[in-house]
Symmetry: C2
Subunit: 116 residues, 2 copies
DNA sequence: AGGATACGTGACCATATGGTCACATGTCAA
DNA sequence: TTGACATGTGACCATATGGTCACGTATCCT
């Protein structure tokens, strides 16, 4: 339920491809790269493939780009990943917290675990 | 580079589907559910579809399952998500840290930003 | 102006993916 | 031991996805 109508679905999907993650890594190393510069870092693929991946990253708002003269510069936007970490991954990546909330629920007499 | 030969690619791919995330959520709410119980929480899909998704989650090690009599019980395994958070997402979800390292590089006279 | 450079678009193809079904297997309980 | 129940398998199909290409447009430099 919470996961299906979530707005960060495009982010999850964008991150699912290793080439796209490689592009993010490249931008992490050096921000504001052009299409060409990014192509050079993914040599096993043509420019068109890279451009498609960049478009997907842009749609997921993971990359922000603007033209500068005849080249287009790409900048990494960490905000969606931040949000993912905050409102989804953190939920699973904190079994510690989870154990605590579970304990707290028991102490407070919460019986939601028993329904169905 | 770092992202492409990464071993948590199956985890990323598994998380890319909203149905799969919904299944994880369901297991988060109540652990150790059978296929049937999980099917009941994804009513828009047949049992076979759910089983396929569960298989993918198992392959990604996000779900651990074992048979119990004539039913198969599924348990959430948060470890892969933990690792994802630790060695990938945290890198982007800490612009604070990043700003600091960037500043440090500048202070140390690091010129890697200028190459190409 | 004119050529070289850099990016954009649409068509196109192969394959991966999501989903369903008929059928088979294993398990419990009367 | 029979039947109902719960899961497993393989084939199968439609579409989404990843990738390439021919061609077009915008920009810079001389």
């Amino acid at each position: 339920m919470t996961a299906r109508d979530s707005t960060d679905d495009p982010v999850f999907r964008a991150l699912a491809d290793p080439t796209r993650r490689a592009l993010l890594d490249a931008l992490f190393e050096r921000d504001g790269q052009s299409v060409q510069a990014l192509c050079a870092q993914v040599p096993e693929m043509t420019r068109f493939g890279v451009m498609k991946h960049l478009a997907i990253l842009e749609e997921a708002n993971l990359v922000i780009a603007h033209r500068d003269g005849r080249s287009k510069l790409h900048f990494l936007n960490p905000v969606p990943i931040q949000q993912l970490a905050d409102r989804w991954i953190g939920k699973y990546a904190r079994p510690f917290t989870r154990a605590l909330t579970g304990l707290q629920q028991q102490l407070e007499g919460d019986t939601s675990q028993e329904t169905a």
